[in-house]
């Protein structure tokens, strides 16, 4: 057992923190909230030059060949920095390709991800479908050598910038809701696609994506037809833990800001951090930050090792989702009036916590996953039940 990070992981964290400190100031974050594209191309290019887009891409496809835990460290720092960029959605594209892409697809697309040339996004959620494969209604119909895709996807991050969409669509109605789902790689510039920007409280870029007879050649299926859901589920586990890491970054930064303010801000002739009311707020934040962090690292480590970890993954995202909301709310409280002013950094974190909370399963969803898995497990004999 060794719960410390390797030297190279510590170095990665430090270089990421320094980089974002210099290259991603809050003024830029605020500017990007108002910007139509929402991501500065220069910043994206510099991140690619550092090898981060290809962090989890094997070297033979132009990447760095790091493991999932490295990736999680980087995403945590991005959460801390409120990074406005389609990093996670592009990395998910790489994960889909690595999981199920053909050699041709991998050779063609992974180097473009690693170089920062291509942006990917995931078109998963729908008007009536969040996590349940049975409710996926976007339909793909085989016509000759191509599929025609019709329907609406929602909450697709940075869709307007995406070169490629990974679209989760229904190709057949079978008895099992997980059966009959297919994954498609769709060219983002396909003329049949319409993007409608959705404005959020955090100024991040999400779209409604409308598919109107979008023609996709058969070769652009990712993996096997009708058998896409198990693949999606694997990638979604990694996505959930990555989101948890982003939440950890948000929470850690909020805690640090609040604590440092509590040491400086004087009321009644003493720093407010010397009052137990404030100390206990901060202690509660520390419990939530450490709990989320350790659970997230544990789940990430298990994913890295390929161990069965449905419960740990759900615990990481399920816990971090609520914990980060609690932490940012308490940090707001410590800052008092100044914290709610729009020029202050706290509102950036408070709103981003909510956006990340509901992505890839909120706490309620993950609680159901955990109880479902526990019910499947064989329980040890217990004297309480004898």
């Amino acid at each position: 057992m060794d719960l410390s990070f390797s030297e190279s992981q510590q170095l990665l964290r430090k270089s990421a923190r320094d980089f974002f400190h210099n290259e991603c100031p809050k003024s830029l974050v605020r500017e990007m909230e108002k910007d139509e594209n929402g991501c500065p191309p220069n910043l994206w290019k510099k991140m690619a030059d550092l090898g981060w887009m290809g962090l989890i891409v094997p070297e033979k496809y132009g990447g760095v060949g790091g493991d999932y835990l490295d990736f999680v460290i980087l995403v945590e720092e991005m959460g801390r920095a409120c990074l406005p960029a389609p990093f996670l959605s592009t990395a998910l594209g790489a994960m889909f390709l690595l999981e199920e892409g053909t050699e041709e697809q991998k050779t063609r697309l992974l180097p473009r991800i690693a170089s920062g040339e291509n942006i990917f996004t995931l078109a998963l959620n729908e008007v009536e479908s969040q996590e349940d494969p049975g409710s996926i209604a976007v339909k793909a119909t085989l016509k000759g050598d191509s599929y025609l895709i019709n329907g609406i996807k929602l909450f697709v991050p940075f869709a307007h910038l995406a070169d490629w969409l990974v679209c989760v669509a229904r190709t057949a109605k079978r008895t099992s809701p997980e059966d009959g789902i297919t994954l498609f790689l769709i060219d983002g510039k396909n003329p049949g696609i319409n993007y409608v920007p959705l404005r959020t409280i955090a100024g991040d870029k999400q779209s409604e994506v409308i598919f109107n007879n979008v023609k996709v050649p058969k070769e652009n299926i990712l993996g096997q037809p009708h058998r896409g859901w198990p693949v999606a589920k694997n990638v979604l586990q990694k996505a959930a833990v990555a989101k948890a890491a982003e939440l950890v970054g948000i929470a850690q930064q909020s805690l640090e800001m609040a604590v440092s303010y509590a040491k400086e801000r004087v009321q009644f002739g003493r720093p407010i951090g010397s009052f137990q009311a404030i100390q206990h707020h901060c202690a509660n934040m520390l419990i939530d930050v450490d709990g989320s962090k350790l659970m997230t690292y544990k789940a990430a480590w298990m994913l890295s090792e390929g161990l069965p970890c449905d419960i740990e993954v759900a615990a990481a995202k399920g816990y971090a989702s609520e914990a980060c909301r609690r932490v940012t709310a308490l940090a707001q409280q410590v800052f008092g009036g100044i914290g709610v002013i729009v020029d202050h950094d706290m509102p950036l974190y408070y709103t981003r916590a909510k956006v990340a909370e509901v992505a890839f399963g909120d706490a309620r969803y993950h609680r159901e996953v955990v109880i479902g898995r526990k019910l499947e497990q064989k329980m040890p004999k217990s004297w309480l039940l004898s």
Partner: protein, 388 residues
Amino acid sequence: MDFKYSEEEERFRQELGEFLDKELTEEICRQNWEDKGVWEAGRDFCRKLGAKGWVGMSWPKEYGGGGRSITYDFILLEELGKRGSHYPLDVGLMVGNTILRHGSTDLKKEFIPRILKGEIEFCLGYTEPQAGSDLASLKMSALEDGDYYIINGQKTFNTECHYAEYHWLAARTDPGSTGYKGISLFIVDINSPGISITPMWTLSGERTNEVFYDNVRVPKRRLVGEKNKGFYYVLEAIDHERITVFYPELLEFTLNALIQYCKQARRDGHFLIEDPLVRDSLGKIAIEIEVAKAVTQRAKWMAGSHMETTYEPTMVKLVVSELAQRLANTGMEILGAYAPLAEDSKWAPLKGRIGWLYRSCLIALIGAGTSEIDRNVLALRGLALPKG
């Protein structure tokens, strides 16, 4: 980063698990957990564990320990917890660490082998009527008299004293002193003349005690470590207590039983487990137990790697004790009208243990540092906030 146990550690876990499945009875589990006192069955079980060499596996070989990593000690606690038990003579394990660190060679020779063999138990003697969270205000006096200390005063909430052999006693050896300076730590034979013990019964049926010292003579060789440095040792022992007495596996044991119950019990036309609100609240506790395990694992790893801890063991205690209360509340909510039924009542679910936890969980929120003191520790030592 590596959360896994080594192959050798896992082999030990396996072998130990098989032994526990055979030897650990309901009676043994409940004796200590419910502070009923550890009597013949529990003592016999400890002697068997000791004979296997499975107690104090991290302690030095020269005193009969295993000379291995502390991870083995934690595995013992985890496996006991999964089966609904503490180590029955757990106070001995707690104080043994301090004896090994600060005690004289004579004390080590006298006590460590007997702790390891499961022969003796200790009870903690810290709290006094006027010294609770402000433990440094304790007044019990120990004055030198030749080869002895003469001890006078009163302790309260000293829980294991009615069945332990030795009192792990904090007393003031510098009569002019106040605060944490001038306090020393003693090992006192609980049967010494002048000691009287009276029971205090808690709302959940556990026994704790008031202990009175009336001119009790304690040989000087029973002083632990240096005179007047006892308070530091006490703080150190409490930190160890926080990671060896509070463990999430015990909560998982109760949660698992509750889940099993919900699978079988029907209410208003459906099984309890089919109710989405029941599932949600059980899922919430299950997640919090996973998180508590991760938080605990950090403290164990730090202890095992001899790293200096500041607030990490305190967080374990705080998280686990407060989670026990939420588990109890969740269970009581799910059980509804059945919840208040006592163990000996007809229709009592799960042997009345949820109703018991609902009452007994209060103790863990107070003992070994109240939740409020723990939050102070997190704020002051974990976050370096200024003292008020």
